[in-house]
Symmetry: C2
Subunit: 392 residues, 2 copies
Amino acid sequence: MPNRNDVVNFAAGPSTLPTVVLEKAAQGLLNYNGLGMGVAEISHRSKEFKAVSEKTVSDFKTLMDVPDTHEVLLMQGGGMGAFSTVVLNLLAAWKLQNPESNAKTTLDYIVTGSWSNKAAGEAKRLTQGTDVSVNVALDARNHSQDGKSFSNIPPANEWKYSENPAFVYYCDNETVNGVEFDKSFPYDSLPPNTNLVADVSSNILSRKIDVSKHAVVYGGAQKNAGIAGLTLVIVRKDLLVDTDAAFNLGGIPQVPHLCDYKRHADNESMYNTPPMFAIYVSGLTFEHILNHGGVDEYSKRSDRKSSKLYQVIDNSNGLYKPKVSPESRSRMNVVFTLPDEETEKRYLNEADKLGLKNLKGHRSVGGIRASLYNGITEEDADKLIEMMKSFK
Amino acid sequence: MPNRNDVVNFAAGPSTLPTVVLEKAAQGLLNYNGLGMGVAEISHRSKEFKAVSEKTVSDFKTLMDVPDTHEVLLMQGGGMGAFSTVVLNLLAAWKLQNPESNAKTTLDYIVTGSWSNKAAGEAKRLTQGTDVSVNVALDARNHSQDGKSFSNIPPANEWKYSENPAFVYYCDNETVNGVEFDKSFPYDSLPPNTNLVADVSSNILSRKIDVSKHAVVYGGAQKNAGIAGLTLVIVRKDLLVDTDAAFNLGGIPQVPHLCDYKRHADNESMYNTPPMFAIYVSGLTFEHILNHGGVDEYSKRSDRKSSKLYQVIDNSNGLYKPKVSPESRSRMNVVFTLPDEETEKRYLNEADKLGLKNLKGHRSVGGIRASLYNGITEEDADKLIEMMKSFK
């Protein structure tokens, strides 16, 4: 039976975490800080757990350079949950600023892959029958070579922002399609004072992001930041609004309590019982990243891991075929195909024998996907690279 | 530094779990089933995790005697989240059966403590501006001796159901107030074909409940059934409806995706990434309960633990003053006061010295609260009982 050292787990998320983080988490599950009780067995309002929660938030703020203008919320529901909560809360904020009964607005979505596409779909659902419409400012499929794949992000001058959107939404890294914004979102393309929303679920803590340019930055924890069940939300403080007052003005959807940013903020994310163990694991992960050079260091590692892997792909004389244009290639999810299914199978078998696991592409697009999250060391990535060099 | 054997954790939730469950969970966190990867690091769609999830659901169905008419969903958001989701989904089902534009309905709440009171409050919020109103069929405070405490559940003939409510809601055990329905909700009091909704967050798996009499039974996992971050929802299959179609008929609120029962059911609770580790811990907890005699056995243990403790209280010549009338006393949360704050402090100190922890009452009501969840053995409870006998 393999132990952790025999295996490299290239899963697209949930994904691998540092062994030392999990060892400490396992210890805390049974006996936290010598209390004789586990970290998930004590009250979330106890001073011991409050200390866990506060340190988790504070380390996260440090790692993300969160300015004083923004608040960090620990929520549930993952990225998919945030598709809904972002719309509900930002529309409430918009309504309070535009209380006239005939006020209308749009939500602009930059669709660069499966996840931003789903987010736009949920925004359309939630705004049915309201005074709000959704504008897909970019559907990158229309700019691809085959007219139907998410394989590049065209320059912002080809996008179509609406006049005065309540927000502009993008997904910084598309896990399924292996598409990532080159260095950052093109902030300069935005109309002045636009609320920008980023889904960073799959590249959080792998490079710097300028939080101050955003209204909301959120991510599910289960890739670079912990285990599934926790959603990290950074929100500009002026957007923490009384959603009841907003709803009473009409024209927008109601906000269920569990989706309400202000309610979470006012209660330091303890309005309801938070996912305590997931918070603890994220806290340990943040500490680990801080102790190993912070986001700057992980950013460099990500660059090195992914560029080495893309090099092998590009120098394979067509054996490995990349799916994404060079300027939009993800450092987190490297996607490519092999000449035929037979060879793909052989590749996966070969990898499997060497303990290189979970390399199959997403069921919706097929092919191969190697995810190089923060939990994958450079040595881990090198094992795959060596295997790919020798595979014929 | 104390280890787990030195301490008994009487926390009201999150609360203590069996050590063997946590030991197995800790092992699985690092290396699940000899994969060389942890249970929270693999894809939620992998065959390995699907097996975990399916066994968790299947053991839960066995423990709860869930009939074929009902489905089990693994959700997030806790009891507080369910306050919203129950309203949203059951109103969608109601609307599809009552599509006329002038259809109106009510939601009946049986308010017997802090949690059902909060649930009623959220129902009022969510139905503002819709064709639905909330009827508090019982506010137990009005039936208490002091006119303001939740300290008993008056008989159902004193409640005021509305004519034809979309559902009747109750909380089977009120954690803060230590109030529990005697044996079960009075099913016979209900008008025929009423959808009954039960919050069993804090007494789930501690006694049999007749699921077939309910439209929805739900509970946060973090008391008797696992750790925080997972909500167990049992819903009758005819209530899994197309909420978009319902919303389009008008008069009801929209349902965000993360709250949508049918979407979770159609995707076997994997529409979004589920809280995998919390599911794993619940699965281990269910297995543990099944291997130790099932709900019948835990029900007997609960009866024995709580009646012994109430006996000490009742025979203390007024040293311990119970807060709840005998017929509505909770088997899970035993609440009482001591003559004055000074004595309460002394009591808590004494208990603390013996490793008896987390006995302080909820901040909103004060006093003492000893929670006797499934994780508390009879020997654990006896330690407290002995201490209380000798305390003067």
